[in-house]
């Protein structure tokens, strides 16, 4: 479903992502972990076509995101770290705009918009201008928009920022249900507990390189025996443990 093949991306002299090769099958929830500046957001921006790799290729459902971006985007839903909306559109108008962009038939679009509004509890403010929304409300609307066309691949960059505990629960349940239905999720996060709870596999990036790829169970088995919590394992891998407790 998602395939990174020897992907490298540079910013001037700095290599942000180095020779990343990764394949994520249908129905898997993959969590990308790593410290700040590790290359997580760059990887995600390349996956959604905002950045082009200096070397290598990225494919979504078989479509090259650089050579054929529109076909690739048709299969993707994207929730960025900073929600972007049109201030002078209402939440419902924004959802209609996205539905039209994906060429959805009117009746189906109407049903899906109602479904997402109910699912993310947007009903109370769906007809207000989005300039009046709080960060959490904006994030919920972006989630709704990204799932409107039932994408094959959902890309999430720090998805829980700004969400209240109830919304976090809704998102977690929804992701679990959608992955069961065959949707692939590629998520970057700092929240280790969330990765532990939800991810089928995790990848740990450090300074642009994938240091670890596997399940949480495999991760536990690979790192030092005395490290008994996932946090400690993570700190060991990323080299930021510093001997702290």
């Amino acid at each position: 479903m998602i395939e990174f093949a020897h992907v490298t991306r540079t910013y001037g002299p700095k290599t942000a992502v180095s020779d990343l090769s990764l394949a994520i099958p249908r129905g898997e929830l993959f969590a990308l972990l790593g410290p700040n500046g590790a290359g997580k957001t760059t990887s995600i921006k390349m996956l959604v076509g905002l950045l082009h790799p200096a070397k290598g290729t990225i494919r979504i459902c078989g479509h090259d995101v650089v050579a054929d971006p529109r076909s690739a985007h048709l299969h993707v839903g994207y929730v960025p770290d900073e929600p972007c909306l049109y201030d002078k559109l209402t939440g419902r108008e924004f959802l209609w705009f996205i539905a039209d962009m994906f060429g959805m038939p009117r009746h189906l679009a109407g049903d899906r918009i109602d479904r997402e509004i109910t699912c993310f509890e947007l009903g109370e403010f769906a007809d207000d201008l989005s300039e009046s929304y709080s960060l959490g409300m904006k994030q919920r609307l972006v989630f709704a928009a990204s799932l409107l066309h039932d994408p094959d691949v959902l890309v999430l960059d720090e998805p829980m920022v700004g969400l209240d505990p109830r919304s976090v629960r809704i998102v977690k349940d929804l992701l679990a249900a959608r992955t069961q239905d065959g949707m692939t999720v590629f998520m970057s996060t700092h929240t280790l507990a969330m990765a532990e709870e939800m991810a089928d596999r995790v990848g740990i990036m450090v300074r642009g390189q994938l240091r670890f790829l596997g399940t949480v169970k495999e991760l536990r088995g690979q790192v030092a025996l005395e490290a008994n919590s996932l946090e400690q394992l993570y700190l060991e891998l990323t080299g930021s443990g510093g001997g702290g407790s």
């Binding site: 905002l50 529109r70 559109l89 962009m101 959805m104 038939p105 094959d152």
Partner: protein
């Protein structure tokens, strides 16, 4: 819950026309909502904009009507030259402004980031942002050009086809330079990422130098010769460079001149109208061609350029002005230190925000250039004094746009970071006073230098120079007081964009009050001088009036006017500041 349908059944890639319709609907919704919120939320601002635009349009129409009537009688042959010069310089400006606006819209806006992750064509995104940039860069042309062209039609007694063709001509014309600006922008970002800034800076510098040189050669004639028929002849001969048949500005000028032509009976001339339509077709064809080329280029270059630009590494900042900041802060732990630290913070933000200092530099630089050239116009004493006061008003008005645009939003922007300042051991009053000091010192230095320059170039006596400098000092204090005081009284803590803060109700009020204050100060200060000069020009036949005017314009009149000016300055500084300080003390972030 509705079951998950197979993607192939529910979604598809939409066609180019569908994309265009979708973005048109989006644009209409955005404009409609913006107009609605302006009508409901900013009535004062909207009314002011409409009234002032109407006044501006009317004044320009009157001016052009007079000018064309004069030219029609004596120099009808120079009209094509003037049209060509006007439209060609406008074309250059439109290329630059559309290019800069498109750069911001295509490569730096959050909207572009959203659209690039959707299944939409790159050329559609370009087209969407292109129309936006074209509108923002060319509305001034419509406001400035329409009174001129309507006035020309009235003077030439043109028939209705001329007026009907005005809008199509303008629209077809603006697409060409805007499209060229877009093409330049795409090429620069897509293929010359590393050279982009340097190339752009070089182009702008060259264009500015060229314009300055051209302006200089027009005005630096021997003093006695200025404004004479020979001077006009020489100036116009230099403008002939703009009459190039390959330039769209020539097609526009020629088309409009043909459309305005009438036969002896005052009806439109069929042959001329056909010529006009031919020129319009030429413009439309080229506008479509430019759009086609720009769209094609966007398809190839936009996504690639966006990615390239994101890979650019900003140059490391050098601490060139660090010594100045350290000098300002000082090493002592005196009670004024927090105030100075706040000042240094604002100074650093000003230095690092190119939009602030570049506008400051451009406006005051142009004003300086104009003042330096004042000596070329050999003014009579009465005119020199009047122009001195008008220049003082212009300096004040330019400063008031800066205080409204940049100083008024400062407290609102500080309010958003209130948790930083709120936790520091800094008195809230000091925050407000630091803004006032920043604005006052930043304004008084360039303004007093400019006013002094203007007065010296006009050859005004020391008494008038002292009066102007005194007024300038009070204007800077009053304008700073109004901007900072109102900014603290009506902060907008939710908005992060300074331009949006300054364009709200408070910002509009600040600009209106500032303008009224400037008018009051300048009129009151100018009155005694002009009464005095008037008394000297009335002659012996009006002795009674002469005596009255002379006494009003004498030392007592001047002293009284200065007292009124000082009181107005004091009121403009103290009243808003007191209101602002009281309000800011009680502010809950």
């Amino acid at each position: 819950m509705i079951g998950r349908a197979a993607p192939g059944e529910s979604i598809r890639l939409i066609g180019l026309e569908e994309e265009a319709r979708l973005f048109l609907r989006l644009r209409i919704s955005l404009v409609w909502q913006a107009v609605r919120s302006m009508v409901t939320g900013s009535r004062l601002r909207l009314s002011l904009v409409i009234v002032l635009s109407g006044l501006f349009w009317g004044a320009l129409y009157g001016l052009f009507l007079e000018a064309f009537t004069f030219l029609d009688v004596l120099h009808a042959d120079v009209v094509p030259l003037l049209f060509n010069a006007f439209f060609s310089s406008l074309m250059v400006m439109l290329v630059f402004s559309a290019g800069i606006l498109l750069y911001g819209g295509l490569y730096c806006s959050p909207e572009a980031r959203l659209l690039l992750t959707l299944p939409v064509r790159a050329e559609t995104i370009f087209g969407h942002k292109f129309r936006e940039a074209m509108w923002f860069s060319s509305w001034g042309f419509v406001l400035l050009g329409s009174p001129m062209l309507v006035a020309y039609g009235v003077v030439r007694d043109s028939a209705w086809p001329y007026y009907a063709l005005l809008l199509p001509f303008m629209l077809a014309f603006v697409i060409i330079p805007a499209g060229l600006g877009g093409i330049c922008c795409l090429l620069l970002v897509g293929w010359l990422p590393r050279l982009r800034l340097h190339l752009f800076t070089a182009c702008v510098t060259l264009a500015c130098l060229g314009a300055l040189w051209f302006g200089w050669t027009l005005v630096t004639e021997p003093e006695a010769d200025t404004m004479s028929a020979a001077w006009f002849e020489r100036a116009f001969s230099r403008l002939r460079i703009t009459e190039q048949k390959l330039l769209p500005s020539w097609w526009l000028a020629s088309g409009l001149l043909e459309a305005a032509r009438t036969d002896r009976s005052g009806r439109f001339d069929g042959t001329s109208l056909a010529e006009a339509v031919k020129f319009l077709s030429l413009l439309v064809a080229n506008a479509l061609m430019v759009q086609l080329v720009a769209g094609g280029l966007a398809r190839v270059a936009y996504r690639r350029g966006y990615s390239h630009l994101a890979g650019e590494v900003p140059a490391k900042r050098r601490r060139r002005a660090g010594w100045f900041d350290r000098l300002l802060v000082g090493s002592s732990s005196s009670p004024g230190r927090p105030l100075r630290l706040l000042l240094v913070k604002d100074l650093r933000i000003f230095r690092r925000d190119i939009s602030q200092w570049s506008q400051f530099l451009i406006f005051f630089g142009l004003l300086g250039l104009y003042f330096v050239n004042l000596r070329s116009f050999n003014y009579h004493n009465t005119y020199a004094s009047m122009i001195g006061f008008l220049n003082l008003a212009v300096v004040g008005l330019i400063l008031s746009t800066f205080t409204t645009r940049f100083v008024y939003p400062m407290i609102s922007l500080e309010g958003r970071r209130f948790w930083i300042l709120g936790l520091l051991p800094v008195d809230r009053d000091q925050i407000v006073w630091s803004k006032f000091l920043f604005s006052f010192v930043g304004g008084v230095v360039p303004c007093s230098v400019l006013v002094f320059l203007s007065d010296c170039m006009l050859g005004l006596p020391w008494r008038l120079i002292a009066i102007h400098e005194f007024c300038c000092l009070l204007l800077c204090a009053g304008l700073s007081g109004i901007a900072v005081g109102l900014g603290a009284r009506m902060p907008d803590l939710r908005e992060s964009s300074p331009s949006k803060i300054s364009s709200g109700f408070g910002g509009t009020l600040c600009l209106v009050l500032s303008s009224l204050f400037i008018m009051l100060v300048v009129v009151v200060a100018a009155m005694p001088t002009h009464l005095f000069l008037l008394s000297r020009t009335l002659g012996p036949t009006l002795m009674a009036a002469d005596g009255l005017l002379a006494s009003a314009g004498g030392p007592w009149g001047t002293a009284l006017s200065m007292l009124v000016v000082a009181l107005a300055g004091l009121a403009a500084t103290v009243i808003p500041m007191r209101l602002g300080l009281r309000s800011f003390r009680d502010l809950e972030a």
